[in-house]
Symmetry: C2
Subunit: 321 residues, 2 copies
């Protein structure tokens, strides 16, 4: 099946919204649907479309996995409450950290997060909810990348641990399947989502686990979370494409109160880029770079050193893990 793209030029957002609301509504009928909200633009858009179509017959869950940014779960839930959309906050931190325990390989960490999310947490919620319809924020780029072998396949039922036999009766609805990201942003805006959502800086699927080199423990997640909060605050006005903090596993020598003190290093990256395919480090003033270092080393326990990435992509990548 070839999916027909709706290009940014073709898109009439109001018409698109009306059509998708109608499709969701007629597909679900008087049944119940469920979706997982991450706070990103795709899942936020799907949540609003689903809510318009189904009202309280849509169950939207936000899974707190322990590797979100500072206050992110609360902020996302409050944002949707303000729009009249109830979101159920599921505290699954223990399950994620248990799955991540002892893992240092980036691929294994990513797989542990995917498995915990789909099978252990969301899969269970789907079955318990009694919903037979899943709303999912797949976009055309996800399909392209699955075909090209860059991303794992997007057969969400398989990912949820629902096999074909048992799955009879389950249906996945993907309202954004014909759009690419720029078109999704237009729809998001037309739905009344704030700029913080429709222009949200890219954030990796494995969340802060993608910003931790080595094992992701609750303590190390907290370290990178605090550093990330400082970096996002200090660099908010740069207009950069993306900025991030990475917790390294290597220990470096530091000094506290005149004494030698091994500690951790945080690497800051800030990118100029159009589409993430290539990028260069933002030429930040040293006043900002030194303030970042001062704040991070004084506020984040255990951090004695801060570096700034000066490598272009390629040969670097945007994220480190």
């Amino acid at each position: 099946m070839t999916i027909r793209e709706i290009t940014l030029d073709e898109l009439n957002p109001e018409e698109f919204i009306a059509q998708q609301v109608e499709t969701v509504s007629s597909t679900v009928g008087d049944g119940r649907a469920i979706n997982a909200l991450s706070g990103g633009v795709d899942s936020s858009t799907v949540t609003l479309l689903g809510h318009k179509a189904l009202g309280d017959r849509l169950l939207t869950v936000f899974v707190e996995n322990g590797i979100m940014r500072k206050e992110e779960p609360q902020r996302v839930v409050e944002r949707f409450e303000a729009l009249g959309v109830p979101v159920e906050l599921i505290d699954a931190r223990q399950g994620f950290f248990a799955a991540l325990k002892g893992l240092t390989d980036p691929e294994e960490k990513r797989e542990a997060i995917t498995q915990t999310f789909y099978k252990t947490v969301f899969g269970k919620l789907v079955k318990e909810s009694g919903a037979r319809f899943l709303l999912h924020g797949t976009i055309l780029t996800d399909v392209d990348e699955t075909v090209a072998g860059i991303k794992r396949q997007h057969n969400i039922l398989t990912q949820l641990g629902i096999d074909t036999e048992e799955a009879y009766g389950y249906q996945v609805i993907e309202p954004l399947l014909q759009l690419r990201k720029p078109a999704v942003r237009v729809v998001a805006k037309a739905l009344g989502l704030s700029e913080a959502v429709y222009n949200r800086m890219p954030f990796p699927g494995p969340a802060l686990a993608a910003r931790v080199i080595g094992e992701v423990t609750p303590e190390r997640a907290e370290t990178v979370r605090e550093a990330t909060a400082i970096v996002e605050e200090e660099l908010a006005d740069t207009g950069a494409f993306q900025y991030l903090a990475i917790l390294h596993q290597d220990k470096v020598t530091g000094m506290r109160a005149g004494k030698r003190d091994y500690g951790s290093q945080i690497e800051v990256r800030c990118w100029e880029s159009a589409d993430a395919r290539t990028g260069s480090p933002t030429r930040l003033p040293f006043d900002i770079l030194e303030r970042l270092a001062d704040r991070i080393t004084s506020k984040v326990p255990g951090v004695v050193s801060v570096t700034y990435n000066v490598t272009k992509k390629p040969p670097s990548t945007i994220e480190a893990v």
Copy 2:
């Protein structure tokens, strides 16, 4: 015993040189002496003083430990040959790498280098040479730091594995014992050493092993050596106090020819400092920072990422290991 300091103000370099040459000459008589040259200002100065006093009755050795900078052994030997001072180049790379194998703890690495140098390599040379006199570049600061417990003690005979019984007849001569570094530089200049020697940038005792996080293998030493050569070339004109390249153990994601490629990271540090007790990162132009990254990632095999330190000392230290 209290050592009387000769301050920079008091120092008359010509007089000091004449006195030390006389002392070395009368102490050694018609015997033979040996000394180890590292290329640093202290051992270079002692080598020239000893040569003035003893001529070819001084055996000067340079130990190639495999963790020197690019072309450093050859450069040091040639520099002294040009001054008419023969230096014996000892290839001890295998012994050092064997001792470093499997070690990742910074203290253990340092200890392995010290033990290999003093006991295995130089201790053996001393005994084989038949020399009963050792010239050593101890300066007053070394003694202070030994007393203060910062550095290991400077009892060189013990370090050479020569015990008190057997040592009867061995004598250590320390011509620079009353000087601190700035006075040594003045003496070095008066002896005709070039500015590259008397104003040499500080370089750590454990050499490039202090610039490698994790195990020091021949391959990893080569990686940091190549990166160091690029950093020293690019930053030579900055007038900075010290600049260096550090090879991290953490792997980060990179891209080569459009494909994902895990690789190594090099951290560059460049310091503004008066005396190494405090320091701030040099505010290098991004043109230089990006050129460093481009050259290092394209010329040094396996390196996909370069960062620049933006943390002051304290809480950072000058070196990382």
